[in-house]
């Protein structure tokens, strides 16, 4: 039994969710290989080789993988999988994994098991459905299990201690079907949302994009990432990549501060596994208070500056 993990990386380093994905693979059992498909991605391949528990790194390097498309990455993955030997193919349930893995599964004519949070056995997994209000235990009858891993369900594997061999493998030829022509990445001084230890999130209660900036000073004091509810994204206060929830990002930081967020189930789906939850809202009946460890009822426009100052 051998698991192949498809690396989410930026050629120089691995995305944080990769380390949690390795832990999920360890729970499945058997050997763990990591595929790094990129262009001049030696550094990412070396980072993968150092993860404790990784036995081998496959490195596919080609110019057309510099800005990888789902079509090109899945072609390389499927070529390797058809070579045989892999019982499981995993990727983190990041934007990359969600885009690529269903394509891999369909080309192999197997089901995908999305966003697992528990490994119960080599063929049995738990995954949240209905915005996390229900947990389903599913068993796959396919020969190859294609799986995306929800990072918050698993601890991170150690980034060092491993010394896996790095083996060059051919990249599948450029399919030419699509190409990446531009990127507009959000510029932020703040830590990355899904791996931050502290997250400060704002909702519709902030009232405007201008007011949302109030949270930046608080986030800076806490060294926190900034997040938002879908309502705040819909209202145009912040870009979509801030969104925490069922259809946005899933986070589980040590501390989650929800400001002006009422707590719709779709938002709770993205943050209810946080260790400590603070809710600040003027409505004492807001559902967010039911799951908050520390609720503070009041006017956020007074509380946030006071809190920022109190954190000195």
């Amino acid at each position: 039994m051998t698991t192949l993990i498809i690396a989410d990386h930026n050629h120089a380093s691995l995305q944080a969710a990769m380390f949690n994905t390795v832990t999920a693979a360890q729970k499945i059992g058997g050997d763990i290989h990591v595929l790094v498909a990129g262009s001049n991605a030696q550094e990412a391949a070396q980072a993968a080789s150092r993860i404790a528990g990784v036995a081998k790194v496959l490195h596919a390097d080609a110019p057309h993988l510099a800005k990888p498309t789902a079509e090109n990455v899945s072609a390389t993955v499927v070529a390797i999988a058809k070579g045989g030997g892999y019982s499981h193919i995993l990727a983190p349930a990041t934007g990359f994994g969600k885009n690529v893995m269903p394509r891999v599964a369909a080309l192999l004519d197997v089901a995908q098991i999305s966003e697992i949070t528990v490994v119960e056995g080599a063929d049995t997994f738990v995954r949240p459905i209905y915005a996390g209000s229900v947990l389903a235990t599913v068993r796959s009858s396919d020969a190859i299990k294609v799986i995306t891993v929800r990072a918050t369900g698993f601890d991170a594997a150690a980034a060092s201690g491993g010394s896996a061999a790095i083996e060059s493998v051919p990249a599948a030829p450029d399919t030419g079907m699509s190409k990446v022509t531009g990127q507009e990445l959000s510029k932020s001084e703040r830590p990355e949302l899904t791996s931050a230890r502290v997250v400060v999130s704002g909702g519709r209660g902030l009232g405007s994009a201008e007011n949302f900036k109030l949270l930046e000073a608080l986030a800076a004091k806490l060294n926190a990432a900034l997040g938002a509810s879908r309502a705040a994204v819909d209202a145009g206060y912040v870009p979509n990549d801030y969104q925490v929830g069922q259809t946005g990002k899933i986070v589980a930081p040590d501390l989650y501060v929800a400001v002006g967020i009422s707590g719709a189930i779709q938002h709770l789906a993205g943050m209810k596994d946080s260790k400590v939850i603070v809710a600040i809202n003027k409505d004492p009946e807001a559902p967010i208070f039911q799951i908050a460890d520390y609720g503070l009822v009041g006017d956020l426009f007074q509380i946030i500056p006071d809190l920022t100052a109190a954190l000195g």
């Binding site: 789902a70 079509e71 899945s74 990041t94 934007g95 990359f96 969600k98 885009n99 893995m101 269903p102 394509r103 891999v104 599964a105 369909a106 080309l107 197997v110 089901a111 995908q112 999305s114 949240p128 459905i129 209905y130 209000s133 229900v134 947990l135 389903a136 235990t137 599913v138 068993r139 009858s141 399919t175 079907m177 699509s178 990446v180 022509t181 531009g182 990127q183 507009e184 959000s186 806490l222 819909d234 979509n240 990549d241 069922q246 259809t247 990002k249 501390l255 400590v276 208070f289 039911q290 799951i291 908050a292 460890d293 520390y294 609720g295 503070l296 009822v297 006071d306 109190a310 954190l311």
Partner: protein, 249 residues
């Protein structure tokens, strides 16, 4: 050009779902059902393409129980021209739906298939990408802006760090994200007109598709309830509790 739009009937967004007492699944009896919200965005995008004179015909497709006809009537009321129901009682999983849509795409020859990025019941986020793979077409998942010119599409996609622009050749599969558009509401006259639009019914066997589930659901449970409800009186107490009790700052 012809556009195919896939729509799924799901438990309404506002319903609090309950697990059946035997833990075999979610209770959907006597529960309000609606079109999956992301599929509404997909239908809206197709209708806007028609209003711009780019799309010539919009075919809405749904797969599942006979009751999916209601979902298709909604799509027709929003502006689809005709509808196809692939009727079956089998519990359809994303790979099976992708194969059914592949069979219909082979028959209908659309230039574009638009789907919601994710259904809010099974939260799988697979069908569009799988369909693109089966058709050997390019995919633009999580689209927030779609521009078509001739045989090319330019799509802005939501990615983890922001936005990515991709160019792809048609035919292609696009999955709709939240910011692609704001769907309209069906008006009463359009709801009436939709009743007269053609709705064809077929089934998996007629399309030559094996829809046998690959995943068995062993049990379905509610997660443990989080113990919350604690309150603090003011900022000073909050900071003290975070420092001394929770020890997170």
């Amino acid at each position: 050009m012809k556009v195919l739009v896939a729509v799924k009937r799901v438990v309404d967004y506002n319903v609090k779902v309950r697990v059946k007492s035997d833990a075999s699944g979610v209770d959907t009896a006597n529960v309000k059902m609606s079109m999956n919200p992301f599929d509404e965005i997909a239908v809206e995008e197709a209708v806007r393409l028609k209003e711009k004179g780019i799309a010539t015909e919009i075919v809405a497709v749904s797969c599942g129980l006979a009751a999916c006809q209601e979902t298709l009537r909604t799509a027709l009321a929003l502006g689809a021209d005709r509808a196809i129901l692939v009727e079956t009682d089998t519990d359809l999983q994303p790979l099976a739906v992708a194969k059914l849509l592949q069979a219909l795409a082979a028959r209908e020859q659309p230039k574009l298939v638009i789907l919601g990025k994710q259904a809010i019941d099974d939260d799988a986020n697979q069908t569009g990408q799988m369909l693109a793979a089966l058709l050997n077409w390019p995919q633009a998942s999580f689209a927030s802006k779609l521009d078509l010119a001739g045989d090319r599409a330019t799509v802005k996609r939501e990615v983890d760090g922001g936005l990515e622009t991709i160019e792809l050749s048609l035919p292609a599969v696009v999955t709709a994200d939240l910011r692609l558009n704001e769907p309209r509401y069906a008006t009463l006259p359009n709801i009436m007109k939709a009743k007269k639009k053609p709705l064809e019914t077929t089934n998996p066997a007629a399309l030559g598709v094996d829809v046998t589930p690959r995943l068995a659901t062993l049990k379905v449970v509610e997660p443990p309830k989080r113990q919350g409800g604690g309150k603090v009186a003011d900022v000073a107490e909050l900071v003290a509790k975070l420092r001394n009790e929770a020890k997170v700052i």
